[in-house]
Amino acid sequence: MDKNHYISSGILELYVAGALSEKENAEVYALLQKYPELLQEVLEIEGAVVALTAATSHGKTQHLLKSIKTKINNAEHTITPTITLQKQNYNWATYSGWAAALVLGVGLTWMVLQNKNLQSRIEISNTQQSLLEIQIENAKLNLNEANSLISILRDDAITKIDLGGQGHFTATYAKVYWDKDQQRIFLDAEGLPEPPKGKVYQVWSLTLAPLAPTSLGTITNFSDDTNKIFEISNPNKSEAFGITLEPLGGSKTPTMDQLYVLGTVNSTS
């Protein structure tokens, strides 16, 4: 672009006059940004026009600024109520918006909590259900056990031996059901007290002539067993059964002063 040609075309004078179209104004503005010489030219034209137009004034308008400012203030004050109203409306809308958001938030939180609550209830239910299942299972097991015990007790081949309390332990008792065919005994130890800590009951098979005890083992799960009936293997030709209290692990020979119960096998039965 030939800047001098552009300047001498007179378009910048029209630009200052405001005699150009909006499109032309935008074009001139873009060129002013690009070429400082053009901007300088515009500033000088503007300065001249400002001076010329000012020359047509009588120059006594300085005092008008005060009343202009008053009018501006008044206008702003008269506008103020509407602005305030609009502001209040706006604030009302904002507040109700926030309130709605808050309600929604609280609602959502409540729902989440409810959901969590329900989930934990379900978990509890599940746990309770599995506990019940275990109980049922245990009950079934107990029932089976009881049924087998009943069948054993009804079995003719089984010999029942009552063990009576001995020495200091006369209040105690026990029963032995001896299944000779299967070489096992069922010891009903319900009449025995809980063994003290560090002690266990040891079951003995005895021959009377000569008197010889054979250990059938210790009852390690006495406390845990609910029906206090213990199945113990017994391959011996027992003539009597006795139970002593022994230290953990048992003893090789029975401690006679700790003999709780004793009973002989009735040869006739």
Binding site: S8, E13, Y15, G18, A19, Y29, E44, A55, L64
Partner: protein, 176 residues
């Protein structure tokens, strides 16, 4: 003070910036208004309205659309022309003068007080009739170039170049 910055502050409703701009341009704006309405009391009324409007509409000015001075010049011319065309004004039509700014300048005594004014008065006296008419239409009356071209019955290109040479001698006086 950078004019562009000042205008930005004014757009941001800085009353001090507004006052400075008033200081810079109020003579010009008043001159343009008085040249159209011809009556000082009316001119003062219009002038106040114009500056109130300028303040209130500060948002609508953008530098891409033109010079700030051109913007307020346009507001002033439109307000003055509206006043002249208004019903109440028409009844006093006989008072309206068809004279140009040249007569307005010639009628002021105060012009002797500043060198610029003296220069301008001399300048105006020496202006050709075409220059007087072109300047009056373009700057004081707000005619577009095509309106000026039609009114003066000279081609648009001639309006531009003539106007440039008219303003050029004015610049020589003002910016000496």
């Amino acid at each position: 003070m950078d004019l562009e910055k000042l205008v930005e502050q004014f757009k941001a409703k800085d009353i001090q910036a507004f006052e400075k701009l008033y200081e810079m341009y109020h003579h010009s704006i008043h001159g343009v208004i008085v040249n159209i309405v011809k009556k000082h009391d009316v001119a003062e009324e219009v002038m106040q309205d114009v500056f109130v409007k300028i303040w209130q509409k500060s948002d609508s000015y953008s530098k891409q659309k033109g010079r700030f001075f051109t913007w307020i010049l346009n507001i002033a011319r439109n307000a003055a022309i509206d006043t002249v065309r208004s019903k109440g004004y028409k009844t006093e039509k006989q008072n309206l003068s068809t004279d140009s700014f040249v007569d307005t300048i010639a009628g002021h005594d105060r012009l002797e007080h500043t060198t610029d004014a003296i220069g301008i008065k001399k300048f105006v006296e020496q202006l050709t009739e075409t220059c007087k008419a072109i300047i009056d239409l373009l700057y004081f009356k707000g005619f577009t170039q095509s309106e000026a071209s039609e009114t003066l019955e000279i081609p648009i290109g001639t309006v531009k170049t003539r106007n440039r040479s008219c303003i050029k001698s004015l610049r020589a006086i003002v910016l000496r």
